[in-house]
């Protein structure tokens, strides 16, 4: 078996096209299940009332915002070390989804903060570092598209993404290092302080966000491949290019 068979844009284009719908179906099914658990089954929170149900969007998107940056940075590392073409395309494809997840996490956080903290925004360590993450995604996308030569954009943006990785532990540990307004995590590998249906709903929604992110990245990477390889013969032979 050739492990690198799908590392070529030519072969990966077809594979991504075949896989993407399945990830979207999985994402939709998990979202239905997760929202059912979160909005109908899970009990009302003793302190926060119904408002806490934002958690079923807020926490999954916040997790994915950090996780997608990590995955993007891994692809960027592969780009710089092995100079592989597909990894740079994957990093480009992941960035907009990551930025969207970061934006949703900040936005839902603001709507959660208003009734519970009394304010949409505070300059708390967690919020500030998550905002920096959003700008890192924007900077990555802007730099990647700022050059005539796309390969130059790939490599420059990859290095920027790797420098930005230092922000990830700052976001993750910010609630422990600075004991400011954003609450600590209720979930850890040792256990949880949450009601079990709340936790299940949150994890199911996270899985849904994860599957959506994979599906969206696969669709986007197909566009990137087509754009880069538009002069190649195999693209011209595609039925959709005719």
């Amino acid at each position: 078996m050739n492990w690198f068979y799908f590392s070529s844009p030519t072969t990966f284009y077809g594979l991504a096209g075949r896989l993407a719908p399945w990830f979207f179906i999985l994402a939709a099914a998990l979202a239905v299940w997760g929202l059912y658990l979160g909005l109908l089954v899970a009990p009302t929170d003793a302190q926060q009332g119904e408002v806490y149900r934002v958690i079923f969007i807020h926490v999954p998107t916040a997790w994915m915002s950090m996780f997608l940056y990590f995955i993007m940075a891994c692809y960027c590392g592969l780009t710089l070390v092995f100079n592989t073409r597909l990894s740079a395309m994957m990093a480009r494809a992941i960035a907009p989804t990551g930025a969207m997840m970061t934006f949703i996490a900040l936005w839902t956080g603001a709507f959660w903060g208003r009734p519970t903290w009394g304010t949409y925004w505070v300059w708390d360590a967690r919020l500030t570092s998550e905002l920096v993450l959003l700008f890192l995604y924007f900077g990555y996308m802007a730099l990647a598209n700022a050059f005539e030569d796309p390969r130059r954009g790939d490599r420059a943006a990859a290095l920027l993404a790797l420098i930005g990785v230092v922000n990830l532990p700052i976001i993750y540990f910010s609630v422990q290092w600075w004991n400011t307004l954003h609450q600590g995590s209720s979930v850890s590998f040792k256990g949880t302080s949450m009601h079990v249906t709340m936790l299940t709903g949150m994890l199911v929604m996270s899985a849904s966000a994860w599957m959506y992110a994979i599906g969206a990245s696969l669709v986007r990477v197909r566009s990137v491949i087509l754009e880069r390889e538009r002069r190649a013969q195999w693209v011209r032979n595609l039925p959709e290019a005719a």
């Binding site: 710089l80 500030t128 920096v132 700008f135 890192l136 924007f138 900077g139 802007a142 730099l143 700022a146 050059f147 130059r152 490599r155 420059a156 943006a157 290095l159 920027l160 790797l162 420098i163 930005g164 230092v166 700052i170």
Partner: protein, 236 residues
């Protein structure tokens, strides 16, 4: 019997050779064209004097916002000096010649950043107590403020140097550089302004200064490699 190893005649590069060469060259250039360094310092003084005019000149208010304003002003001045670091050498091809030199990019890129800090970050640090006096900061706060700038501005130069090299020849110029560099400056700003702020409110500045020092050590270890790699990407 092995033959004696032939004496090598080609120039061999080293980190220190490239570092001292690039630093001496850039300092000599800055000395002969002092306007850029003067402009950086003038910008800093100008921005710092706009705030009392815009916000109001009550002494208590000024002493309260002083540390933060001085740090933001220094940060913006250091940021505006960044394009001068590589742009001219990139435009006239010197940067390409440097990458062909036997010295590793890590060395001479670090030398250029060091020279840049001496021309921009160091004058800002030296000027900061004077601006602090205008804001009515206490003497001990002035000292902590200058110390935090002394530790923090090299980090800004290193981070900014990497971003400036990445943005060479890119569309979007200065705005793009702002989008790349300013988010990375945020932690330095928080700890730097936090140190003087803590001192002014009677708390210990030591935790902030320690974190700033840790950031400086991490930057000194990691970022010269990134600057060198960024220059190579720009020139390839």
């Amino acid at each position: 019997m092995s033959a004696p190893t032939p004496k090598r005649h080609q120039a061999s590069g080293s980190f220190s050779g490239g570092f001292s060469w690039a630093m001496a060259r850039d300092l000599r250039l800055a000395w002969r064209h002092p306007d850029e360094a003067v402009l950086t310092v003038a910008f800093f003084a100008l921005v710092a004097s706009l705030f009392p005019l815009g916000i109001g000149a009550e002494p208590q208010l000024l002493a309260r916002i002083g540390p933060g304003v001085i740090w933001v002003g220094a940060l913006l001045a250091a940021f505006l000096a960044l394009p001068g670091l590589f742009a001219a050498d990139y435009a006239d091809g010197s940067l390409e010649q440097m990458t062909l030199s036997p010295h590793p990019a890590l060395g001479w890129a670090a030398g250029k950043v060091a020279a840049h800090w001496i021309v921009s970050g160091l004058p800002l640090t030296l000027l900061s107590p004077l601006i602090g006096l205008q804001y009515g900061l206490a003497p001990d706060t002035l000292g902590v403020q200058a110390l935090s700038l002394l530790i923090g501005t090299p980090v800004l130069s290193l981070l900014g140097g990497a971003c400036a090299a990445l943005a060479l020849g890119a569309r979007g110029g200065g705005m793009l550089l702002a989008l790349l560099a300013l988010p990375l400056f945020v932690p330095v700003l928080i700890f730097g302004a936090g140190a003087a702020e803590a001192q002014a409110t009677g708390l210990s500045a030591a935790p902030h200064l320690s974190l700033l020092g840790a950031a400086l050590i991490a930057a000194l270890v990691g970022l010269p490699v990134a600057v060198g790699a960024a220059v190579r990407i720009a020139v390839d």
